[in-house]
Structures are given as structure tokens and as C-alpha cells.
């Protein structure tokens, strides 16, 4: 069992996202540890990028701020190394392909392995292009986690059949951000995945309330929340550790209650 699969071992998983190095590296590190303590089953860490085309305004702003505050790929790896001395929780990077490419594909994966990153989500690397980094991921034992979206349709079967770690089910069209309601037929997407793969499925994009998280976890194996957390960090800055921990605790409790779909 991959380390990532273990996040789903004890029932439904709650997976919070933060932009690495936002508002600064020190606070970012504290936030991640606080989220682990609050019950997060896996943490998704965004590698800041100058042009995050899959992100809405909240996470775009966080990317810009993190870079302005001096976050680099190297400093982020150093932070992960420090985190790994304190926690065993699965950690995955959400990164655009260019920072990986610029760092050197093998060098990036080697650093991931050494620092303790378990998987990668690359929003601008679709199934047809995964050969770009899949060999390097395999060489260093890093899971390359696929995304499926409401427009994927029959592609879901092909994508899920080769899934590693888990399948990230994007619940909505458009970019990341909080949404009032989620209308996509997530249930069909999840059952398509399950027809070809044993990989867990977690749902993300648009989730902010405990009700939404519970609903999505009910339909799948877990819920991922990004913008709502990054928004809290934007509001509270360095004082965001308390409010974020409290939010994660509440969301984890809502998710945990769900039975299997």
C-alpha cells in the first residue's frame, strides 16, 4: 500500500490544501503541523508559481504573495524536510509542470523522495502528457496523482485505470474557489473510477462548508479543501494558525461521520 493510500485507511479522509510559503515559510510550516494535529489525513502543499492558470483569485494571490515573501522550490523542500521530522502524515505537492521542468525532472523527484513528499498533482499535465515526468516519478517512488473533471466523460476510465495514490475528482468547471453549490454528478464520476481502479477517490474544488464536505465525502473517499483555507490565511495572516486548526477540526468531524457510498 502506498503511503498515500494509508490516508484513506481509517474511513473518509479530509485533505486540506495550503499554498507553500504563504504568508511566509515559517507560518506555512506551523499551519501544516496545526492541520495535522487537527486531524488532517493528508496535506496538499501548493508549490507557488507565477502563473497558476487553474487557480481562482484567492489562490492566485497566495501564489504571488508566497513568491514575493521569498519562497523558492529549494526553500519549500527544506520546509518539507523539517516537517518530516515531526509528522508521518502523507504530503503531496500541487505543482505546475514548469517549476518541475526547470528544476530538472529527476532532480525534483530525488528531492521529493529525500524530503518526504509522497505524491504530485500537476494540473497542467493531462493524461496524454504524463510521460513527461512519469518515468522520473516511478524511479523515485513518487505517486503521480491524476485529476478527473466534469468534462472528462469517457476519459475517466483511461485515466483512472492507471491511477497512482488516489484520484482527484474535480467537482466543478472553472478554476479553484469557493462555490455555493456543487451540481456535478460526482456519483457517476466516482463509480466510473471504481469500475476500473481500487484507488481511493477524493473530491475537491468549490468545497467550503461542513455540509458540502460531508456530502462529497459521502459520495467518495474524502474531501479536499483549498480556497476556503487559503482565504482564512489571507484574513488572519500570521495569526491564522488557530482559525485554520479550528476549521480543519470541524471539517474533519463532518467528513468522518459519513458511511461508505
Amino acid at each position: 500500500m502506498s503511503k498515500i493510500a494509508r490516508a484513506f485507511r481509517d474511513g473518509k479522509a479530509f485533505i486540506p490544501f495550503v499554498t507553500g510559503g504563504y504568508p511566509d515559510l515559517e507560518t506555512s510550516e506551523k499551519l501544516i503541523l496545526a492541520m495535522v494535529d487537527a486531524g488532517a489525513d493528508m496535506i496538499e502543499i501548493g508549490v507557488p508559481f507565477s502563473d497558476p492558470i487553474a487557480e481562482g483569485p484567492v489562490i492566485q494571490e497566495a501564489n504571488e504573495q508566497a513568491l514575493a515573501a521569498g519562497c523558492t522550490t529549494d526553500r519549500l523542500f527544506d520546509m518539507v524536510e523539517r516537517l518530516r521530522e515531526k509528522t508521518e502524515v502523507p504530503l503531496v505537492f500541487l505543482t505546475y509542470i514548469n517549476p518541475v521542468y526547470a528544476y530538472g525532472k529527476e532532480r525534483f523527484m530525488e528531492r521529493c523522495r529525500r524530503a518526504g513528499i509522497d505524491g504530485l498533482l500537476v494540473p497542467d499535465l493531462p493524461f496524454e502528457e504524463k510521460g513527461e515526468i512519469a518515468p522520473a516519478c516511478a524511479q523515485y517512488g513518487i505517486d503521480l496523482i491524476p485529476l478527473i473533471t466534469p468534462t472528462s466523460r469517457e476519459r475517466i476510465l483511461r485515466i483512472a485505470a492507471e491511477a497512482q495514490g488516489f484520484v482527484y475528482c474535480v467537482s466543478s468547471l472553472g478554476v479553484t474557489g469557493v462555490r455555493k453549490e456543487i451540481r456535478t454528478d460526482v456519483c457517476t464520476m466516482v463509480s466510473m473510477v471504481r469500475s476500473v481502479s481500487d484507488a481511493p477517490v477524493a473530491v475537491g474544488f468549490g468545497i467550503s462548508t461542513t455540509e458540502q464536505a460531508a456530502d462529497m465525502a459521502d459520495l467518495s473517499d474524502g474531501a479536499i479543501v483549498g480556497s476556503a483555507i487559503v482565504k482564512l490565511i489571507a484574513e488572519h495572516g500570521r495569526e491564522s494558525i488557530g482559525p485554520v486548526a479550528e476549521y480543519v477540526k470541524k471539517m474533519k468531524a463532518a467528513v468522518r461521520k459519513q458511511e461508505n457510498c
Binding site: 502563473d51 487553474a54 513568491l67 514548469n98 493531462p126 502528457e129 468534462t151
Partner: protein, 394 residues
């Protein structure tokens, strides 16, 4: 590896949400490009709406003044809407129509592609939204109003550097929001496959015409073709039919802003490194960590940190040359062509004129140099006045 490669460059590096849409465009394009009815309809539009073929003008005074090669100007500035952009846009919007789409979106830098898209959308009854960096909406305020006159909605993009790259980001984001009824009409030979190929195909009419017109006039091929390169669509169009003709030098002029050694430039081939961004593997101006660099040029249309993947292949194989041209050289060429031939070129095209001024005197009187005048300069008059410190009322 995916389709749409030029050597190792190109590809389809885009969010999963867009994959089915992009493949749908690819299939529709493959179907339409060989469909006699589509070809005929587009040809009609080119002739009777855009005003093609565009003239190939012998610049006799410029030739005499520079004292070298015989200079011809390919007058893409005389097309409807004032630039080569209309060639691509008529093709893509017609394709969108055939695909049953009802809405088109596009990015724009200087506003030429935005104006062309808004025009084609008006003609073909499509809803139209244009994304333009806020800085560019200020540099090119008149074009914003032109697009609005044509019925388009213009969004001023305030993220990042607020220029062309950010306009592309925002148009891509918008396409993921609303993909079913919408085609993203990319303005250059960039982005994910099939755009670099499709846009080139719609633009290659430029080189086909140059070839025919020159054969008729001179009975021979040119010795050199010079064009400006931002994303690279007018250059690709002006080069394409000459690629197999090894005797023809192909020269792309990049925007060097304040100079190739100054951080304020946009010369991607000169200064960029390999990367993957905006759907393609290509060259980009970026830092060691792959963060895309803020680039600069006086020309909003060339102010882009990447370049089309086919250009990178032409550069790597040595088939085409790419040279940097500074703001100052471009502005001076803008003024030069205005005075000597009575033709005000777009500041983008003035980059090509600037290099031609250096090249022509080195060539023999029996040689022929073609400059692609990709657009007209009316839109730039106010900016050039500002550059020269002249106060005018707009």
C-alpha cells in the same frame, strides 16, 4: 508523447477540463481543412471581406535610400481591421460556427487580435469576450473602444504583470469555466496543439501570396524574408511556404525592449530557456525555478515571455534566424517608414523594418528582401508621441 510536436516542442500541456474541448477542436479542424465547402467559404471571406490578396509593394525609395537589396513590403496592414490577425480569426470563428459554438473568447496584447476577433464575431453572430492586460488597455485605449463598438465585452486583466501573458492566463481560466458553447480563439502560433498548427495554416496564405506575387513580378524567389516575432504568427505565415526553399533566408525580429542585456526585454529566443507553459513546450523567459519572467517591450503585441514551438524548431535546426531589435531601433524605423514611403507600420512590424534597414545595405542590388508589414500603425501613434516626449491630445 502527444501529438502536435515540432521536434520536441509543442504538445498539449493543459488542464484536464480542457482536454476534450481541445481534441474536439482538433477533430473539427482536421475535418474542415479538407472540406471544399469550408475552404471555399473561407476564401470568399478572405477576398470579399478581408481584402485579400494583400499587396506586395515595391518600396523603391527605401531601396534607393538603403542602397542594397530590392525591398518589397507585404502589406498585411491593408487587410480589414489593419493586421494579419484577421486571417487566423476568420478561419477560427468560421470553424467555431461549424462546430456549433455560439461564443468566442480571446486574449489580446496590442488589441489587434482582439479587434479582429470582435469583428469576426460581429460578422458571424457570435457572442465575444476579450481579455486584455490592464496595462495594455491603458496603452491601447482606442482599441478597447473599437472592440466595444463591435459588440465585444472587454475584460481588463489585473493579475500578474497585467499584460499579454496574463491575458492568456485569464482567457484559459475563462475557457475552463465555460467550455461547452465556447471556443478560445488563440491569437498566435502558440498554446496547446492544435493551435500552433492551425493558426500557422490560417496564416500561411501570407507566404503563398508573396511567392506568387514575386514570381509574377520578378520571376524568382526572395533572398530574405523578415518579420517580427512575439508569439510568432505573422512570421510563421510569412516563412512557411519558403521553409523548403533553402536559398531564402528567414529572419524573425524579437522585441529587445531596452536591450538584450537589460532585464527589460522580451527577446525569448535570445534570452529564454526551455520550459512548459501556456499549453506548450517551448522557450520562455523565466528564472532558475521556472517562474515566468516579467518581460517588457514598447510593443504590447510583442510583450510576451514565450514563442511559438515551431519557431524554436526552426531556430534549433538553423532554418530561421532570430535577431533582437530594441525599442529605440523600432521607434526610429516606425518614423523612417512613415517618412520615406508614407506607410505608418504597427510598432510590432517596425521591429522587422528596423532589422531590414541593417540587412538591406549588406545585400546586393540583384537581391530581393521582403518585409512583412504585419499591421498598420494608427494604434501606436499616441504611444510613439509619448515615447518622443510629444504632448498630444487623444
Amino acid at each position: 508523447m502527444s501529438k502536435g510536436r515540432f521536434g520536441q516542442y509543442g504538445g498539449q500541456y493543459i488542464p484536464e477540463t480542457l482536454m476534450n474541448a481541445v481534441q474536439e477542436v482538433e477533430e473539427a479542424y482536421e475535418r474542415c481543412k479538407n472540406d471544399p465547402e469550408f475552404v471555399k467559404e473561407l476564401d470568399e471571406l478572405y477576398r470579399n471581406y478581408a481584402g485579400r490578396p494583400s499587396m506586395l509593394y515595391y518600396a523603391e525609395k527605401m531601396t534607393g535610400d538603403l542602397g542594397g537589396a530590392k525591398i518589397y513590403l507585404k502589406r498585411e496592414d491593408l487587410n480589414h481591421t489593419g493586421s494579419h490577425k484577421i486571417n487566423n480569426v476568420l478561419g477560427q470563428v468560421l470553424l467555431a460556427k461549424k462546430m456549433g459554438k455560439t461564443r468566442v473568447i480571446a486574449e489580446t496584447g496590442a488589441g489587434q487580435h482582439g479587434v479582429a476577433t470582435a469583428t469576426a464575431a460581429a460578422l458571424m453572430d457570435m457572442e465575444c469576450e476579450i481579455f486584455m492586460g490592464k496595462e495594455d488597455t491603458e496603452r491601447q485605449a482606442l482599441n478597447v473602444y473599437r472592440m466595444e463598438l463591435l459588440g465585444a465585452k472587454v475584460h481588463a486583466v489585473t493579475s500578474g504583470t497585467m499584460t499579454l501573458k496574463d491575458a492568456v492566463n485569464e482567457a484559459m481560466r475563462e475557457w475552463t469555466r465555460r467550455v461547452d458553447d465556447t471556443l478560445y480563439v488563440l491569437g498566435s502560433v502558440m498554446g496547446p496543439h492544435p493551435f500552433p498548427t492551425m493558426v500557422r495554416d490560417f496564416q500561411k496564405i501570407i507566404s503563398r501570396e508573396i511567392k506568387e506575387q514575386l514570381m509574377e513580378r520578378e520571376g524568382r524567389l526572395p533572398d530574405a524574408v523578415v518579420a517580427c516575432v512575439g508569439g510568432g504568427s505573422n512570421a510563421m505565415g510569412a516563412f512557411y511556404e519558403f521553409i523548403p526553399e533553402k536559398s531564402v533566408r528567414l529572419i524573425g525580429c524579437e522585441a529587445a525592449g531596452l536591450g538584450v542585456d537589460n532585464p527589460k526585454n522580451a527577446a525569448t529566443v535570445a534570452n529564454g530557456s526551455e520550459g512548459i507553459f501556456h499549453g506548450m513546450k517551448s522557450l520562455f523567459c523565466q528564472d532558475e525555478y521556472g517562474q515566468i519572467a516579467p518581460v517588457y517591450s514598447i510593443s504590447a503585441g510583442l510583450d510576451y515571455p514565450g514563442v511559438g514551438p515551431e519557431h524554436v524548431m526552426l531556430h534549433d535546426t538553423g532554418r530561421a534566424e532570430y535577431v533582437p531589435v530594441t525599442d529605440e531601433e523600432a521607434v526610429s524605423a516606425f518614423e523612417y517608414l512613415s517618412r520615406i514611403e508614407g506607410i505608418i507600420p504597427a510598432i510590432e512590424s517596425a521591429h522587422a523594418v528596423a532589422y531590414a534597414r541593417k540587412l538591406a545595405p549588406q545585400m546586393g542590388a540583384d537581391q530581393i528582401l521582403v518585409i512583412n508589414i504585419s499591421g498598420r500603425g494608427d494604434k501606436d501613434v499616441a504611444a510613439i508621441a509619448r515615447y518622443r516626449g510629444v504632448k498630444i491630445y487623444e
